[in-house]
Symmetry: C2
Subunit: 389 residues, 2 copies
């Protein structure tokens, strides 16, 4: 299949390009290296050393004996995006090309407005370009489990039957996001749903849990093939940050009481799930939602698991609680449903403990980088708008 | 009360400035005249002759013996908006400063992206500026009943109790809008709801029906005090367009079968309801939703009512059905709830027939203008993306 990845230079994008190529697909990618710029703006860089795109493209060709078609492009450039779809004719498009950080969007008005307008405009651009050029193609758009918030009822996969005043309807499950970023993803989900009804596009909207881990496959990546892994407060996610803290002996920083329950999945399971979605496309006009995660944990338990895994490697770290910079419930009901991916064959690929140990081993050679930038491990972006530093 | 109106030069904004001033409030306004530019872009102009802003400000001062504070400004200019809030210290802000047209947003990618990013950025700008400067002020933000779509259950006022898998929660009523514009309003509603929870702002989100009519008060407006009234396919709304068609003897153009049911309210009732919201503010941190309309009608019945009102004035017009340019259900259940405004004292101010006759009388002197631009009465913006002309 010809699959175009928007955001191919990112954490998921670069791993996915390899995973799909290994399965025999033809892969194209768009990126304008915003992620590298945003992480630099946070005063940080990837813990795992990453190659430049020319190096990545050469390594890709050596590894898979085929070219990665690449365009250095802002996704908001409608005419250019349309031209690419016209000339390359993808059968599927994976939309990972968004600003993915809740804390980044909470910095100030400028960052909130950038995150929302950038993400909304990128998605609308892709939708209009697909309508014009390849309405038969399958859009796999990355959402987040964070769109749902933490309701007091189980979280359906996108839609549910409701009864109200004695009548019934199948309706979108209400969203209740917790940051300007998460709301931007809700806006996008709504726009994609509308486009599918309007123009009979087909889309899979992936409500993904928090991804962690250093590897998309069993083997360690070859030279220039490693994907990025961030550890700063904005672009590093919970488990990855704990692992980076552990390898330099820094206390694992839990926000507040750590009772916040969230969904998680290893990077390799994210690859597996996205591939299942791609290889089992929906019907034209169908907008389907997958809740994509492996397991549910609270953050304090995860910190304990990282500490235990580190101890097995001879590293001793403590766990500390930081004043929670976010506005969120720390003790709450949380029961998200996940059936659709399991029905299509998703099986968790490994246990969490093994994955954590692999990540710690892979990150150990990166200690100097993490040490150098370690001030970014502590949060100073506060949801209530008061900077603590 | 000191009340700032964003979008004070528009159909609702200019009428509201007068209505509030007549009730003794101090009124300030922001506008950058986008509406005049968009209507010109559609090849049209207001049917009712409207004065320039300097003329309007002078007439306002003569009528109410007080100044209208006015700033010519793009609402997306964060620093400027913050300065205005700082210097003028409003106690309430009415946010009418958005691109309000479904067809305009459906023209092409550029117009869709403009409508969504402009509206989202304007609202975020106001929210952040309020947080920084006047978190105690009351935001009255204009939404639309169109955010809800046409579900098969009654439409709650913003929130409802749901039961799912044996558990219950109070959740936002799911939205299902029918144009990029309507979705932009959903995005804004979500953002306002989030800001109220996050920063303890207080807001009333007004899900308003389709407004019609030429007058905000019983008496005809004085010189330079008339509000605009549009009749083009993009910025003219159903009843106003029918009235403009009637006064020049043009057939009343119903889209499709005309069974589409919508909520409506006369301009003067919109003023009454917005005033009720302003004079009965919510608590800090409260995000409340009002469904704001007077009655529910299908479009074909409205066309018949306009025809009957026109006949009483000696004008005979036919009703024709046009191939529906929109993607929408033409026969559907529709039962929106409205209790909160009634509980606060809203009483419909007049009957529809009287209001229609007043509009026809007021528009009769404008026949030459409508005749001159009458090609804009016919729709060529299609929801399926194919221009029919």
């Amino acid at each position: 299949m010809k699959i175009l990845i928007a955001g191919v230079d990112g954490y998921l994008g670069w791993a996915l390009a390899q995973h799909l190529a290994a399965r025999g697909h033809d892969v194209g990618g768009i990126d304008n290296f915003f992620r590298r710029r945003w992480v630099a703006e946070m005063g940080s860089c990837s813990a795992l050393p990453i190659a430049s795109m020319p190096e990545r493209i050469s390594a890709f060709a050596r590894t898979f004996d085929k070219q990665l078609s690449f365009w250095n492009l802002d996704l908001r450039s409608f005419d250019d995006v349309r031209e690419i779809l016209k000339s390359w004719s993808p059968q599927a498009i994976v939309h990972l090309g968004e600003c993915p950080s809740a804390p980044y969007s909470m910095i100030d008005a400028e960052h909130a407005i950038f995150t929302q307008t950038n993400n909304v405009a990128s998605t609308l651009t892709l939708l209009f370009a697909m309508r014009d050029v390849c309405p038969e193609a399958h859009l796999v758009k990355l959402g987040t489990m964070g769109e749902y918030g933490t309701p007091n009822v189980p979280i359906a996969e996108g839609f549910f039957e409701i009864e109200y005043r004695g009548r019934t309807d199948r309706m979108p499950f209400p969203k209740n996001a917790g940051s300007w970023y998460h709301w931007s993803k809700v806006h996008d989900s709504n726009n994609v749903m509308f486009a599918c009804g309007l123009w009979k596009l087909r889309a899979t909207d992936v409500m993904q849990g928090v991804v962690f881990g250093t590897r998309a496959a069993d083997a360690a990546p070859k030279e220039h093939m490693s994907t990025r892994l961030d550890f700063d407060q904005a672009f590093g996610t919970a488990i990855n940050r704990f692992c980076c803290q552990a390898v330099i002996g820094h206390p694992l920083t839990v926000y507040g009481g750590g009772g916040q329950r969230r969904t998680f999945l290893p990077l390799r399971d994210s690859m597996q799930c996205l591939t299942i979605a791609l290889e089992n496309p929906p019907e034209p006009g169908e907008y389907r939602v997958f809740n994509q995660f492996e397991s549910v944990h609270d953050l304090l338990s995860l910190a304990h698991m990282v500490r235990a895994a580190a101890r097995e490697l001879g590293i001793s770290v403590e766990i500390i609680s930081l004043d929670n910079p976010r506005v969120e419930r720390e003790n709450h009901y949380y029961q998200p449903e996940r059936r659709r991916l399991t029905d299509l064959g998703y099986r968790p690929s490994c246990d969490l403990r093994t994955e954590l140990k692999t990540a710690l081993v892979d990150l150990t050679p990166c200690r100097a980088t993490i040490e150098k930038y370690k001030q970014v491990l502590l949060p100073d972006i506060r949801w209530d708008g008061v900077r603590s530093f």
